[in-house]
Amino acid sequence: MNWELISKATEYTAEEMGVALKRSAFSPNIKERMDHSCAILDSRGTMVAQAEHIPVHLGSFRIGALNILNWMCSNSMSLSPGDMLLTNDPYITGTHLNDVTVLAPVYNGSKTMCYVISKAHIVDVGGPVYGSINPSAKTLYEEGIIIDPVRILKGSRLDSEILSILTANFKDPQAAAGDLNAQIAANRTGVTRMNQLFQRYTPSEIYDAWERSVKRSRDLALHSMRKWRRGCFSALEHLELGSSLIPLKLKLEVSEEGIGADFTGTSSQLESPLNAVFGVTFSATMFSVRCAMASEIPVNEGLFSVVQVYADPASLLNPAKPAPVSGGNVETAQRVADLVFQALSKCVPGTIPSGSSGTMFNVMIGGLRENGSGWAYYETIGGGNGGRPGSDGVSAVHSNMTNTRNTPVEVAEREYPVLFTRCSVRRGSGGRGIHSGGDGIVRSFKVLTRARLSILADRFRTRPYALEGGKQGMPGKVKIVRRGAVKLYPSKFMEELEPGDEVTLITPGGSGYGKPPHKPRRN
């Protein structure tokens, strides 16, 4: 009877860690945008509970945690009570360099009973670009500093020497140190809670409970797929890079045992940050499948176990180190989700929406303040949500792999030398349909000092897929006005800005669902 209580208490612990992290985090990126996740792993690294606030972290712990434990094993590293491990190597953690992962063991006597783990997007982790997501990176080394697993806490003491090596490389050291402290505090909360659980119940009761909750999630997942068509469904999508289009291919096999997603035929890895480490590919696949399951399923290994993912080694979706990957979990992840949704639309017809804006529209901007200190501002911009089988798509919103909130204009202007000139709905940009696509966003700002702007976006030349005869949403645009002259830009670039330059970001609309009636219906 206690297993349900133990598994609930474990889920709540993950969530409480997330709240602790958000509350004490320093940067608006975590505080306001909730770009972080927390989880509990058993002693073998199996995920037993996760609280994620951003879908791109869904499932990446599954791969990241095992990689960390394997790394510790092969490097003879062990964690004593009070130690915490920190790493940001995307080929270990399963996302990108900005996502710093901190892991802490939970001891009962002399035995490691489980781990708590947290991941948070640190705005800048070094490299040539403010915000570290470098659109022109050709290797991982151009995306920031790589931190192999290292003990940042030794016996509950913060290793300030390691911390100072890190923050010396970060362009906003104070914010980074604050956010790392918040991660450590969140892990402490997790360790305390799990210690309490091990005081109240015996280890075998707890392990039994976790096993049962993992099995229950698997059963729930398979149960929710019982009416899906069995068979093989394929789909094709593209990402933009310079003047070429990069193909992504999927064969999705659905059977009684679950789902196999095979990305064979996808482009090989690129000298561009669009590569997505395997953890991202898994997360994005898992995301679309979970949405289609349309039921509340506790997130743990049981849910993950119904999806098997394959991508060729050294391909765009499973690159080899040191291929650059910073854009993988922001842009490529969106396209993988689109790809899986398209395949699922043939497997579970009448439930999958048309394509949403399909880009996180990453904006990184920074420079030096008058006093010589650096500033770095990172923002992602929502777009139009695709028309759904039962309703119009939502306007001006984040879809699929991200859900971060915008930074309020009044907050951003106080923190950074920018002046906003517009934030509005891009009317008429959603594709028409029986249910039309949602509209994108127009956001404009002027810089007040010299600054370096980087944009990593997509769907400027391609448009979101449309189902059942709907019309496609309008593509995105960036324009910069300098002394009255207007210049249009591609979806990925870096530019040096002069004071007074006005940047306008125009995000894509969602596609409509179903053949539209003759007259336009929306204002």
């Binding site: 985090a25 999630s217 929406p353 984040h398 971060t404």
Partner: protein, 662 residues
Amino acid sequence: MGLDVAVDIGGTFTDIVVCRDGRIEKAWKVSTAPVAPERAVVEALREARLPPISNFLHATTIATNAILGQKGLELPKVALIATKGFSDIIEVARQNRPSLYELEFSKPKPLVPRGLRFEVDERVNFEGDVLKRPADAQLRRLVSSIRRSGAECAAVCLLHSYSNPSHEIAVGRRLRATGLETCLSYEVDPEPGEYERTSTTVVNAALTPVVSTYLKRLGSSLRKMGAPGVAVMSSSGGLTTVEEAGAKPINLIESGPAAGLIAAAELCSQLKIGKAISFDMGGTTAKAGVVIDGEVGLTAEYEVGGRIHHGRIVKGTGYPVRSTFVDLAEVSSGGGSIVWKDGGGGINVGPLSAGAEPGPVAYGRGGSDPTVTDANLVLGVISEIMPGGRGVLRRDLATRAFSRLGEPTEVAQTALKIAQLEAARAIRMVTVERGLDPSEFTLIAFGGAGPQLAANMASELGVRRVLVPPSPGLFSAIGLLVSDWRYELKSSYPRNLASEFRRMEARLRGRLGSPRFIRYADCRYSGQGSAVTIRLDSCETPQVEEEFIRAHRRIFGFTIDASVQVQTIRVMAVVRRAKAAWPSQPPVEAAPQKLGNTGRNLMVDGNWVDAKVYQRGSLATSFETDGPALVDEDGSTTLVPPGWRMSIGRLGDIRMEAKQTR
């Protein structure tokens, strides 16, 4: 003091307590009339044939119901006036979706449709410097197009108006001159964060006609009953006048729950309890709040109409409103929460509730899904005979409903444990997450369902003392009787802390004489994403910074070497109202079924035990006994588990204490 009448209008029931010179003469419940709630009240009071009323103290859900779109409470058409380029802020909101994995998610419908959004070409920067002044001709055109739009009231929210409101004032003056009801954002919510300030201002504008009409109708109905002074409970836990409430109706959103927390705070002062958790569990939700040294915890943001998940309002499901609210965490766990089994075979409780209709299965009104109340009945926690002779609960129906999910007593026990765990989360949120240790607190349990599981839940949290006040079902209404007046002012980014506090306090003194002031400051490290509210003893900058650093260390476990920024400061003025320290309860009327204190079969940790049953009214002060025991009263039952000792306190309160470490 004279005759005080306290009326708490809730979603299902309206609670009425009549108090003469500090003694409660009569207390009862009537059904709420949702569309014209004042009618049921006036009727009930007329039937009670009361002498002229001196004070009418009121808590109401009307503001919340109007936002939730309750029929008969239509919101007016509101025009929004924003800075050029920013009128869609009300629709873009924070650009996030309320649920991550739901394909057909929706954002709340913007409170102002696209056709009613207007823009002014003006701009102020964050320091309050004017970058562009609005042209007169433009303002004239604006006003006439707003008049043509058919808007019934207006909300003006311009960028950075909390720093420099002159442009808002200019727009407001012209709109008000045409007779249009107008709310200015710097008056309603002078804080940075344009979406939240816009939403707060729009919600306030939309509620103004509904709430002020209601209060006027109530006032005129009461005129025939002695024309009492009317005081309304605000979300911050203080009484406000009808005029204040009508001008700032957003302050009434948590009116009822605030009254419950104030009742707990006053009870603590009476009984010299330093730290207490108030725990209010009714039919659909459980709410927890904290009282320290007689003061209630406060918070500055709330989402009205939002969906609640795991005790937190899901951001983006409702409309944010920034104002001072008593700090309550709410979970969907109540007596009516439905017990169900998922596809993986796990037992779950809530968030769906059987509500008042059909209610728990045992009510025999057609409900088929078992609830927490049914679980309490099956396990013997509550009696089959409803106290007060109000009917019989059908244990056979409840058992049958559980048997569809498994072995009935086993399912019921699991359900209660899950309900307790869920309710305990609400308490964790207001204690552990605020850096407070629940084991140092006394749990004050009320509402119909609170006393049933309070002690078991306390064990879960390491809490060792539980208190159940007299008439736990009417506790919020009693809170109205012991409340004082409160008024608040706030200001953002003050240039000089001490002089800004002095300026605000002088303004309040001008209106109120010599109130007691409570000062707060929202502080953060420079560059940090959000602020911590601290209470100030001194308003000198160095002391404020020290206080913030202490609070940061207490709550988050660390501090950093960065400068401290004061974002918003608030002053709360408290004016005491003439009243009894604590209203005394009426003598118990003898009712036949409580003559014999009999036993009841109670399930404890999987075994049936014979628990003593007491009728609360028959227990004298200083009575003591050990658990397992049950105390029945009209509308509630207190469970004293094994390992707990109960006694009756001097105010008729039930006290329970854990005997040993469990």
